[in-house]
Every structure is written in structure tokens, then in C-alpha cells.
């Protein structure tokens, strides 16, 4: 059993582009739910629109990447408005259900054959990030030690992505500490009370939805860049659940929570998968069990994640950095 390999894999995932992408998605969710109380279960829809918007401009219309990214984020704004205007007046559970349904239906639409000319349908779109990697000033080769290493391009994506994570965290923090953020947090506590004080709560919720959605869209853009392409199978509903898992792990309504949560999430997920792979490769298991586990690390780690979520809620529902006291105040 080679723990260097396992740890190296886990650390690579925990600091890698995927972790940064999930950190961005979770920062958006944190603004939505942690601060504004909006139960958005369709964050993956924003990620998908950011990614596809960018890719469509580049691959389908032959435009520039630097036009594609704002176009993708613009689609996120449009999605937030289309989703929010009919549902934000309603109870939060209706909003939760509508968002998860809308995101998945959008995905079905994108991968359907009538949309193939624009979105590439089930095949997705490729070769979109050349002008992004042209900016890569890092030398070729690998950086790191053993399994904990990245290619030059991966490192370039990571640098940009983690800078964005820091910027978005700072943006959300500054917003939340402003009087605007005070109104938003007040709405989370009791919307009727805030209405009675003369604030247009729907407008504030819509603004929060748009901003958090655009941050989620940014996560999608990074995803499209690091793969230099998009595919609808990367935007299944459970991506939202994983972003939620990261956020809850780190703690709601905290600045570092979504970031630390995303790092931990990917560290644990890859660590578990790598551990199972090592187990079967080392021949420490009876053959029948090894056969059963072969190629199943993904499913097992997600199943374990499910257990982990249940256990976290039962034992430490406030997350790692959340304060338990807050859980029992008021609502």
C-alpha cells in the first residue's frame, strides 16, 4: 500500500482546477443560501450556461474567447432573471424544486438533437481554449513531486482559477458587509419583516441570485477552459449536490467555508478513490471483492459521500467552520 501515491493524488485533486471550480460554484451558492436564504438547487445550470455560452461563441460561431466569456456570463444573468422573476415571490421550497428542474431541463435541451447545430448535442464542443493557453507564460513540463504534479497548462488554469476564487470571495465579503448585504441577510432571516420595513425584497433576492449565478457561471467558464471543451454529461444534477456538499462541509455563511470545503471535498473524494484502486491493485483483497471493486471507485466514493453528508448533518450540521449556536436561533 503506497500512501505517497494516495496522498499525492488526493492533494493534486484538492488543489487542482476541479477544486477551484467547485470553490467558485460554492461561493455563488453561499451568497444564494448562506446569505440570502435562496435554496438554489440548480447551480449546475449556471455553470453549464457559462461553459456553453463561451464554447458556442468560440466553436460554433468562430468568435473570440474574450467575447465568449462575457456572453456565457450574460446567459447566466438571463437565466437568473428568467428563473427568479416567476419564482422568487414564492416559498423557498418551490424555488428549490423549480431550480433543480430548470437546470436539468436546460441540460436536456442542450444535448437534444434539435440543438446539435449550436451546442454539438451529445458530442459537445471542442477546441475552444487556444487563446487562453496562448497566454500561458509557464515553461513546458510537469511541476510538483510524484503523483502530486501538474502539467504546465493545468498549473496555468489553476493560477487563474484560484485568483478568481480569491477575487470572488473578496467581492462577496465586501457586498455582505455593506448595507446592501445587511438587507440581504435580513431577508434570509425573515422576508416579511424586511418587506414591512420598506425594502423591495424580491429585487434584492433577484440581485443576489444574479451575482451568485454569475459566479457559478465563472466556475463553468473555467471548467470549459481547462477541458478546452464542453459536454452535457459534465453538468448533471449531482454537480449541484457536490457543490452543496463542499459548501456544507466548509460551513454556510462564512467567507472561507466554500473554499476550504471545496478543497476538502476533492481531497477526500480523490483520496478515497485512490485508496480503493490501491487496495485492488495490491492484491490484498479476495478476488471476488477485487473484481467487484474494479472500476467502481467512482460509484463507491460517491456512495460514501452520501453517507458522509448524512453523518455530517447528524453530527455537525453547521459544517466545520459554522457556529452551532446560529443553527438554533430563530427559524
Amino acid at each position: 500500500m503506497d500512501f505517497d501515491i494516495i496522498f499525492g493524488n488526493a492533494a493534486r485533486a484538492g488543489l487542482g482546477p476541479q477544486a477551484a471550480i467547485f470553490a467558485l460554484a460554492a461561493i455563488g451558492l453561499n451568497l444564494h443560501f448562506g446569505y440570502a436564504g435562496l435554496l438554489n438547487f440548480g447551480q449546475v445550470g449556471f455553470m453549464m450556461l457559462g461553459a456553453y455560452g463561451t464554447a458556442i461563441v468560440v466553436a460554433t460561431w468562430g468568435g473570440s474567447l474574450w467575447l465568449g466569456i462575457p456572453f456565457g456570463l450574460g446567459l447566466c444573468v438571463a437565466f437568473a432573471l428568467a428563473l427568479g422573476i416567476p419564482t422568487l415571490r414564492l416559498r423557498s421550497d418551490y424555488f428549490a424544486i423549480t431550480t433543480i428542474a430548470a437546470a436539468e431541463i436546460l441540460r436536456l435541451l442542450i444535448r437534444s438533437s434539435p440543438a446539435t447545430d449550436i451546442t454539438g448535442g451529445p458530442f459537445g464542443l471542442q477546441a475552444i481554449a487556444n487563446s487562453f493557453f496562448d497566454l500561458n507564460f509557464l515553461p513546458d513540463g510537469r511541476f510538483g513531486w510524484g503523483t502530486f504534479s501538474y502539467s504546465s497548462n493545468q498549473l496555468w488554469v489553476m493560477i487563474v482559477a484560484w485568483i478568481l476564487v480569491v477575487l470572488c470571495s473578496a467581492l462577496v465579503l465586501a457586498l455582505i458587509r455593506s448595507p446592501w448585504g445587511r438587507v440581504v441577510r435580513a431577508i434570509r432571516e425573515d422576508e416579511d419583516a424586511v418587506l414591512s420595513l420598506g425594502k423591495n425584497t424580491v429585487a434584492y433576492k433577484l440581485q443576489a441570485l444574479v451575482i451568485g449565478g454569475v459566479i457559478g457561471g465563472l466556475a463553468g467558464v473555467i471548467d470549459a477552459l481547462q477541458q478546452s471543451g464542453v459536454g452535457s454529461e459534465n453538468f448533471e444534477p449531482q454537480v449541484t449536490f457536490f457543490a452543496w456538499a463542499a459548501l456544507i462541509l466548509g460551513g454556510l455563511a462564512t467567507t472561507v467555508g466554500p473554499v476550504v470545503g471545496a478543497v476538502l471535498f476533492w481531497f477526500l473524494r480523490e483520496g478515497v478513490e485512490s485508496f480503493i484502486r490501491e487496495l485492488s491493485e495490491q492484491g490484498w483483497l479476495p478476488n471476488a471483492l477485487a473484481d467487484f471493486l474494479d472500476g467502481a471507485e467512482g460509484a463507491i466514493s460517491i456512495a460514501l459521500m452520501g453517507i458522509g453528508l448524512v453523518a455530517l448533518m447528524a453530527l455537525r450540521p453547521q459544517g466545520i467552520f459554522g457556529r452551532r449556536r446560529n443553527l438554533h436561533l430563530g427559524t
Binding site: D93, I97, G306, V310
Partner: protein, 426 residues
């Protein structure tokens, strides 16, 4: 699952393609021939002779012509690699023979160096225009009722559990899958039990599983006063766990039950239905009516409605709320499993079926009004009808889009759902 399957078919295709390249490639290399188009014209299995085919290059200049021989074969040598347009002269086709697809009279094809490209001009009767809109609509309505009844049955538990405990159960879809998969194990995999017996067994196990989750996990957590959000996360965790454990054991493929797989359709006017589907529709309707009668008449049913209406008031008037919630979990899970067996029988069984269905159930429940059993029934039927009827005009791939459309429209007009009650403020 479809990803894995399409991957496999892609691999198979590539393998065949590579193999054929080897065979034909080597044969052509021996012949020492250059680039060419070739093909065989057949109509109803017989070769068609004397049909002229011509080829022009990118600049429009004719580079070759050929007439099919007695064996239907034709071949046109090309001047070199490049893109060419091959056209079949339909005037030279024998009487009564046409192109199957009139738009494929001219084919644009790129030829690489040293390759001979086979071209296919498919001959035959023009494809029949199929059923008219009226017939399609009738069939779609029938399908809509069929799926609507199944969705309604699956969604009752979801809606009632919300009404009783305020919980949105993201794992409800997995109960559907569990029922379908268990029935498959009993029926097709190991025991070979008849589907009806297998289904009943599956429903019993799934009902017990639902009760087990409520009794051993959710009830203790409720006692600790977790918030609605924490409960949602618990059910998301359960959903991820259950779905992927089922994936581990069942695998990513679609499977079918052994019984009632192939049946001749009965036709009633514009409607055509297999005896299996007819039975499923009838059974679903009977079960839904039975649930309604139970809620309306039985002591426990009345208690369920009372708790859904106002839990505190019901508790204070002596109803054992925990017991009512447990009953609803068992019954809701069992109904979901019945829906799963029916759905698996009508379509196929796979590990994601319940999760896909969950979105339609959500739409149904919100449409009908969260928390009411009748709302779930009405909403389910509506969602089933809308999605199926949309396929008359739109691609079936996007039928779920119409479900969302109806949902958003309904929320705009009547936010509390069709049968829901408005909430009071203050």
C-alpha cells in the same frame, strides 16, 4: 447508462471500421487502383440496371459517369483526392422505382488519397407519411395518461411526506428505482419468479425500506430539531448513497423484465395499447382511487389529512403524529415502488430511472399543490399528458421542457398550486 452503452456501440463501430479498412485497404492496394466512387443499386433485393450516375468536382466540372450493370454495380474513377458531388439521374430509373429519400439525389463526399468510397443511393417506395396528427395525438394522450398515472402514484408519497413533515425528499426517486430493480432481481435475474409475484415482493421490501429510513434515521433527527435545509441535505445524501449502491450491484445497463415483454397491441379506434399497458393503466387508476378512498374514509387516512393540514393541532387533539408519518413513509415508498415496477415494465429498468422521474414528480407536486395527495394525482396526470402530447409536435428528447413550461406558467397564475391552500401571514 446510455453513455456507457453508446460508448460500447462506438467502440464496436470503430472496431468494424478498422477491420474493414484492413480487408478492403489491402485488396485495393493489390489492385493498384486510385480514388473512385462505387456502389450497387438494388430495389427490393433485385439489382437495378441501366441507371446513370455522374460525378462533378468542386468547380462543377464533370469528371466521370457510369451506368449500372446487370448486377446493379457501378464504379467511377476519380482524378484524385478531393470533394466531389455524385448525382443519380432519376429519369433513368425504371418505372415504379424512386429514391427512398428524394433529397439524397446528390451526395457530396470527400475522398482521401488511394481510397475507393462506396456510395449508397437507396431505392424504394417513398417512406410512408405515417399516422396523421389526429392519430398521433390520440396515441400521445393515451401515453400521457399512462405515464401520468404512474407519475401520480410515485408522487403521492413525496407530496404527503412534505405535507406532514415539511421535508422535500430528494431520495424519493431512489424508492422508485429500488422497486423496479428488486422486481428485476426476483423476476429476471436470479429467482425467475413471475413478474406479478416479483413486483409484490419488491413493493413490500421497498415499503419496509422507506419505513426503515423514517424510523431509524429521520425520526431521531426530527427529535433533534434539525432545520428543513439540514433534512434536505440528509435526503440528498441518502439519494447519492442509494443510487450508487444500486449502480454497483445492478450495473449501468438498461434491463427488461422477462414477462410481458412483447405483446400484440389491441386497437380501439385511434388508440393502440398492449394488454400489459392497459392492465397497468387500469391497476394504476384502481390504486389511485383506493388511496383517495382511504384518505377520505379510513381513520388513518383522516388522521393523515389532519396532520398534513396542521401538525400541531393534530398532535394536540390526540393523533400520534410519529405513527402517521411512519405509515405515510411506508405507504409512500410502496406506491413509489409500484410506480417503479410499472415504469420498468412499460419502458426498462435502469439505475437512474427514479432520479429522472423525480424531476417530473417535483413538477407534478408543485403543480398540484405541495403537501396534498390529490394535488399530486392531478399534477401527475397533467405532467404526463403535457410531456407526451408535446411529442406530437416536438422532439421527444425535449418533452421534459414542456413539463417545466407548464410548471412555471402555473406558478405565475396560481402560486399555491392547483389544489393548494394559500399561506397566512402575520
Amino acid at each position: 447508462m446510455s453513455n456507457a452503452r453508446s460508448l460500447r456501440s462506438v467502440v464496436a463501430l470503430v472496431a468494424v471500421a478498422v477491420l474493414s479498412l484492413f480487408l478492403f485497404g489491402s485488396a485495393q492496394a493489390q489492385d493498384g487502383e486510385g480514388e473512385a466512387f462505387s456502389g450497387t443499386l438494388r430495389f427490393g433485393g433485385e439489382p437495378v440496371e441501366g441507371v446513370r450516375i455522374s460525378v462533378v468536382d468542386a468547380s462543377g466540372e464533370t469528371v466521370g459517369e457510369a451506368v449500372s450493370g446487370a448486377d446493379g454495380r457501378w464504379r467511377i474513377e476519380l482524378p484524385g483526392p478531393g470533394t466531389y458531388r455524385a448525382t443519380i439521374d432519376t429519369a433513368t430509373l425504371p418505372e415504379g422505382v424512386t429514391l427512398r429519400d428524394p433529397e439524397r439525389q446528390t451526395l457530396e463526399v470527400t475522398v482521401t488519397a488511394g481510397r475507393s468510397r462506396p456510395l449508397i443511393f437507396a431505392l424504394g417506395e417513398p417512406a410512408s407519411r405515417g399516422p396523421n396528427v389526429g392519430e398521433k395525438l390520440a396515441q400521445a394522450v393515451l401515453n400521457g395518461v399512462k405515464f401520468g398515472l404512474i407519475i401520480a402514484m410515485c408522487a403521492i408519497g413525496l407530496s404527503l411526506i412534505f405535507g406532514l413533515t415539511g421535508l422535500i425528499n430528494f431520495a424519493h426517486g431512489e424508492l422508485v428505482t429500488l422497486g423496479a430493480i428488486l422486481a428485476w432481481y426476483f423476476n429476471a435475474d436470479t429467482f425467475g419468479a413471475p413478474l406479478i409475484l416479483a413486483g409484490v415482493l419488491a413493493v413490500v421490501v421497498a415499503g419496509a425500506a422507506g419505513g426503515g429510513v423514517e424510523f431509524s434515521l429521520l425520526r431521531p433527527l426530527r427529535a433533534r430539531r434539525l432545520g428543513m435545509f439540514q433534512f434536505m441535505v440528509v435526503t440528498i445524501g441518502l439519494s447519492l448513497l442509494a443510487r450508487h449502491v444500486m449502480l454497483l450491484f445492478f450495473g449501468p445497463d438498461r434491463e427488461r423484465y422477462i414477462d410481458y415483454a412483447l405483446q400484440a397491441e389491441w386497437t380501439f379506434g385511434p388508440f393502440a395499447v398492449t394488454p400489459r399497458d392497459f392492465t397497468i393503466m387500469a391497476l394504476s387508476a384502481v390504486i389511485l382511487i383506493a388511496v383517495a378512498v382511504f384518505l377520505q374514509r379510513a381513520r388513518t387516512g383522516k388522521a393523515i389529512r389532519a396532520v398534513a393540514d396542521n401538525p400541531e393541532l393534530a398532535e394536540s387533539s390526540g393523533i400520534d403524529v410519529d405513527r402517521v408519518v411512519l405509515i405515510v413513509w411506508v405507504a409512500g415508498a410502496a406506491l413509489a415502488a409500484v410506480g417503479g415496477v410499472f415504469f420498468g415494465s412499460v419502458e426498462a429498468v435502469d439505475w437512474l430511472m427514479g432520479f429522472r422521474l423525480l424531476l417530473l414528480m417535483f413538477a407534478a407536486v408543485v403543480l398540484g399543490g405541495l403537501g396534498t395527495a390529490y394535488g399530486a394525482m392531478v399534477g401527475g396526470l397533467l405532467i404526463g399528458l403535457v410531456t407526451e402530447v408535446s411529442t406530437v409536435w416536438a422532439s421527444p428528447e425535449i418533452k421534459a421542457v414542456f413539463a417545466l413550461g407548464v410548471l412555471v406558467l402555473a406558478l405565475l397564475v396560481r402560486p399555491q398550486g392547483l389544489l393548494g391552500q394559500r399561506e397566512r401571514i402575520g
